[in-house]
């Protein structure tokens, strides 16, 4: 199991346990993390699971694939470490990952 910490736009932190191979979005939904909508259910089709990857984790997580980059066009307040959380798969290397949810999803 790996840990993910979600920080909401007001600064509140919530840490959850994630199965390897599960996506950050799935863990958010499973744990009722506010600020993640995931309207399309994880098909990389809606940009409502947008998160900012913590700067310290940005390199380990990596950047978006072209399709995800396209979907990010629809997200609110896109920043350099913006990702769609349905496209980040948990690996042992990501244990302790920190992401911030935006003020709003689209």
């Amino acid at each position: 199991m790996a840990k993910i910490t979600f920080i909401d736009s007001s600064g509140a932190k919530r840490t959850v346990e994630a199965e390897p191979g599960s996506t950050v979005m799935e863990n958010a939904i499973r744990n009722d993390i506010p600020g993640i909508e995931a309207e399309c259910g994880g098909a990389c089709s809606c940009a409502t699971c947008h998160v900012y990857v913590d700067q310290a984790w940005a390199d380990t997580v990596g950047g978006p694939q072209p399709m995800e980059e396209d979907m990010l066009d629809f997200a609110y307040d896109v920043r350099p470490t913006s990702r769609l959380s349905c496209q980040i798969k948990m690996t042992p290397a990501l244990d302790g990952l920190v992401v911030t949810t935006p003020e709003r999803q689209g």
């Binding site: 089709s45 396209d70 066009d73």
Partner: protein, 342 residues
């Protein structure tokens, strides 16, 4: 005013479940009118994941959203449903003789015995740009669609987005507007490469402007836009003069006018029974993702089942004196005649 269409059934939503309802009703000799806000059938399958695989349709190990839609359209062809695309049912009224009067935003009117809500997650509507106070400028200066190009004649138009809508309107409005500026958050576009090349050529020729960044603020008064503030890719803030803004940020799902139909909604879902899939208003049924009942699963296959049972109940309501004989398409000549195969 256009003539009112008198019919037995209006299906609200042309997603997979709405389409299959045409089939189940058709086997019972009921013809349907189908209304959808999108300009084509398929609902979420067509809009959200046309190219993505679905693995849980019985009998189809893998099918894409578009593939499933195409197959369903083929399957329901014998039943001659009438489609009304790019329209949304704006109002629903019950009449004294237990029928329903529906009116779309385009003014199409239906007088129907039965309404089937197969609206999925709601209606797809343009996503609003994430800018504070944008509502105040809507209709006057901020437009999510172009109905008449002439509205923009002689105006400074800011188009925001990087997909086909944004690029198409950039190209179409360039000769009409006084000046077109296209703004996108990055120098890569999802639109068709041909449109992107044409756009870049116009930029090189100095006919239009391209700005890379995100709009942060609208400047104007009483809904009349004067300029927008934008954060550019290099972090600097710029002001761009504009009389009109056209944001193209894709579509999102909103429940829409169904909320006003008196259906005792629970968290934007329509409660139904599991025998007829009828709502609290007799004659209005709800099938697919939009309904709720104990044990509900939002699966396409569940919506197909709901459609089959709904059709039996709707048929009894539409033709109360007619006995329904349960038959199989494999063996019934009468069903095969309806399907055009016997």
């Amino acid at each position: 005013m256009t003539e009112t269409i008198k019919t037995d059934v209006v299906i609200v939503g042309a997603g997979p479940v709405g389409l299959f309802a045409v089939f189940e009703l058709g086997l019972l000799d009921i013809k349907a009118h189908v209304v959808d806000i999108l300009d084509r059938p398929g609902g979420q399958c067509a809009e959200l994941y046309p190219e993505k695989p679905i693995y849980d349709i019985p009998g189809l190990p893998m099918v894409t959203g578009q593939g499933l839609t195409d197959n369903l359209m083929e399957q329901i062809k014998p039943f001659g449903a009438t489609f009304h695309f790019s329209e949304i049912i704006a109002s629903l009224e019950k009449t004294a003789d237990d029928r329903f009067l529906l009116t779309t935003d385009a003014g199409t009117r239906f007088d129907t015995k039965v309404v089937v809500i197969a609206a999925g997650g709601g209606s797809f509507q343009p996503k609003k740009p994430p800018i504070e106070g944008v509502e105040a400028f809507e209709e006057k200066s901020v437009h999510y669609a172009v109905r008449k190009m002439d509205v923009f004649r002689g105006k400074r138009v800011l188009i925001v987005g990087g997909g086909d809508s944004a690029l198409d309107w950039t190209l179409n409005l360039a000769p009409v507007a006084e000046r077109v500026t296209l703004m996108h958050r990055r120098d890569a576009f999802r639109a068709a490469p041909d449109s992107v090349n044409k756009m870049r050529k116009l930029v090189d020729e100095g006919v239009i402007d391209l700005a890379l960044g995100q709009v942060t603020e609208l400047i104007g008064k009483d809904g009349v836009l004067q300029a927008v503030k934008a954060k550019l890719a290099d972090g600097s803030t710029h002001e761009i003069a504009a009389d009109a803004m056209l944001p193209f940020f894709g579509l999102t799902m909103k429940l829409g006018p169904i909320a006003d139909w008196g259906l005792n909604l629970e968290e934007n879902l329509v409660p139904v029974d599991t025998e007829k899939f009828e709502t609290t208003t007799p004659g209005i049924y709800a099938i697919g993702d939009i309904n709720s009942y104990p044990g509900k699963l939002k699966l396409i296959l569940s919506g197909f089942h709901e459609g089959a049972l709904m059709a039996q109940a709707a048929a009894r309501r539409i033709n109360p004196d007619r006995k329904i004989v349960f038959q199989y398409t494999t063996s019934s000549t009468s069903l095969q005649k309806k399907l055009g195969v016997a």
